[in-house]
Point group: D2
Chain length 261, copies 4
């Protein structure tokens, strides 16, 4: 088994901000990709906003099993056409791991249907991610909790639908809580939102955070063959109905006609 | 208590198609609105595609408690700006009842994040909607099942997220099944999808279907005051943290600065 | 509308422990019942372990809309026959509000199917219950969070199924988090678990906690008529099938015979 | 990887009823076990009611990854002590696949908290199990639907909690529907209920049904190490709190004392 992961990053802070540059000299995406590659069954490549089609052509997506998404200040610059394409691929079965400020990305808001808003504070305070279900695949190798000495606070209410599973809930030094690891199923695709990852702290260098990322990629991987026509609404003609039928009542469509969209 | 319901209809078939005209001489929206008004605590008005802003100005939506949505062949003509507005109002707490072919409306696909696709057949076959939870508010007054002598078949897979509650599941004469009554919570808003309602059959004249519609409006009504800033992500300054904090670590934002979107 | 609430309490600590006696001179159940009565549409009575049938005869339960449950050191003394009866009534539609150490009550473990275990510490530390969904009926009248200066810590993992809705999540001074307000639907009954309420602190005297209790009783009330045969599995004879049927294949049961249990 | 499955059967009909004997000359449990063994990574053994401890000693359960359960007329003869033990193992992480009339088994009712009741008819009618999520691991290798020429009808309402995922929904010739494949998570354990399997029809000889059973065993297998203390509620002493704490307020427990149960 090989899982083909693509780490997407808007890749702006690392070029513009000295603090972030010092923490991620090789960029956030490369740091995460390197961590994923420590799992011999994951091949990790990267894509960024500045590449043609943001590095997410149809061909590239068709060969991606799990997409990780990091964005912060340039959500609005991601083209709607690319977001359409990513959304379709998630519904076909591609896994999606949304990281930190990606909560406000177009793709996450699309998949959730809700504003994905939250409260925040950049104070470098302590965060503790409690494992809610230690038997969950995403929490394997993590003890009771992950301690982050410096983190950005993300606080409730977090405007997302009730999840399939609550994997982590965070405690913050300043007094807030946050559901920091949540899973969703959308179409054939599995989605994991993971809250830590502010760019001014070395969070993606943390071995436990890296373990969670590798676990998340494995969990989000759906080995079923892609459901390419997941968005189609085919007509089932009377002749092919499983039970014998005769047409009754009034009719709008002619025989064999496609439905409206 | 008064619940202000608005019945939205694209209102095209009734003007263009003789079969539909014969079934709904007063239009689908007027038929449904009349049924809602039989509940003395519901005031029902209507809105259609052809009106300015499709009849859904910001003011109108701000005074709407529950919006019912019927559309079929003109989903693409609904303006994205109006859909943005409706989505925001649902997240603020307005109820949304999506009817029949509204499964492919922009607003329903937005709220779900999935394709909302299904299988279909227009053969006038028998449909039987089984009540899954007879104690659910939406099923009050309905016995074990609703029998529709003529219906359009909608078949699984229905590409929506796993619901909050499965209220109805349908049996079709031609051999298919469909989860025909599903509830969702999105932000402060409650959503009910209800499958029957093909325009060539007199389904919205059926007393039991009308009972379900009235129940659905009552269920979808959230009396809490609208959550106007549901999409905002406010900063919580260090000075106002519930627990005493001192700034640590690197920083991206200046004090008091708004977050990125 | 009148909602008939019964507050059940094991009523032991108040008689044996001077600390608890000082905090609840009138008992925990009477304190809660009094708070509920401030809502003119709730009639609240009480029942305790020492009464015949623990005060929960079949007649009493049949006239109860919502049962609140407080127990701590005598869970094992609650008779299985009474628990059977309460479980049946919840499945028929009676609401159940489980309080604090009631997490380990027989009735809560029965309804959940899981151990309902957690971590705990009695240090009088600060607890802050954050509202996760401010538009939820149970959270009406509560601002962003409820602050309790002294509370018993309950920490995750909390071994319950993923809830219908997460209404509150708590922050504790000692560093833990807890999903402190969770809703469930079981049969026709609605269940709310609410974590605060340790007997050595005056938590049920807190006006905001009392608001939540009143809201919870209103939310848990199901006005549908009781589903008395919810546990029955009736045979549907061939003659009464909705579609015409002829018997085929081998058979185990004779016509009209009751099923096995 | 090897998954250790145990197929449990009450094993009564096969000995007492000639019809069942003809269909399952080697017993239901042996038929299912043989089907599981076609997957080279599953080792399948069996256990029956008549064995000491019903074949489910603590040692046996400790070495079981997934337990399949078939029972019908002797649910009441299963000892409560064994059910306690099985429930504990599921919460520790053992998978549980409940088959057909096992809906009324003690273990399933324990795990669900609801009556698990339904409607039924033994008429040998046609059943069609529609795949709701074709990308689900349990549905791999199954096309749109499984057709069973003769089946016992199980009809809604099915009194179980809303599932994690709805994998199959069934259509019956006599006019009913049933949610025939449902998943649950309870503690560390995964549960799958699968409806077909009436003993007078050769359903467990059907290749597609066998595929679903193998898939279900793989899906229900949790490779995480057993959560042996899942039912414990340990005290977290003040001295070991993650944040520095000082005792405040009144106290019930002495330092180091175990909690009540």
């Amino acid at each position: 088994m090989t899982i083909r992961a693509v780490v997407w990053n808007e890749f702006i802070h690392e070029k513009e901000n000295a603090v972030v540059q010092a923490v991620y000299p090789d960029s956030i995406h490369e740091t995460i990709a390197r961590a994923l590659r420590e799992d011999g069954e994951i091949t990790a490549t990267t894509a960024t906003l500045e590449e043609p089609e943001h590095g997410l052509s149809q061909n590239r997506l068709d060969e991606t099993d799990v997409l990780l998404w990091w964005g912060h200040k340039a959500h609005g610059q991601v083209s709607d056409a690319v977001v359409d394409r990513v959304q379709q691929r998630v519904n076909e079965g591609m896994g999606l791991v949304v990281l930190h400020s990606g909560h406000f990305s177009k793709i996450f808001k699309r998949m959730m249907g809700t504003p994905c808003s939250l409260r925040w504070r950049e104070a470098g305070e302590r965060e503790r991610l409690w494992v809610i279900n230690p038997s969950h695949p995403i929490a394997q190798g993590i003890d009771k909790a992950i301690e982050l000495p410096n983190s950005e606070m993300y606080g409730e209410p977090f405007l997302v639908p009730e999840p399939l599973e609550t994997v982590f809930v965070s405690w913050f030094e300043g007094g807030e809580v946050f559901r920091s690891g949540l899973t969703y199923q959308r179409g054939a695709g599995r989605i994991f939102y993971f809250e830590p990852g502010h760019e001014t702290y070395p969070i993606y260098h943390d071995p436990q955070i890296q373990t969670v990322l590798r676990n998340a990629v494995r969990w989000a991987y759906n080995p079923a063959k892609p459901w390419k026509d997941v968005s189609e609404a085919p007509n089932v003609p009377i002749e092919t109905a499983r039970e014998k039928l005769e047409r009754k009542g009034g009719s709008l469509h002619k025989a064999g006609e496609a439905g409206y969209r």
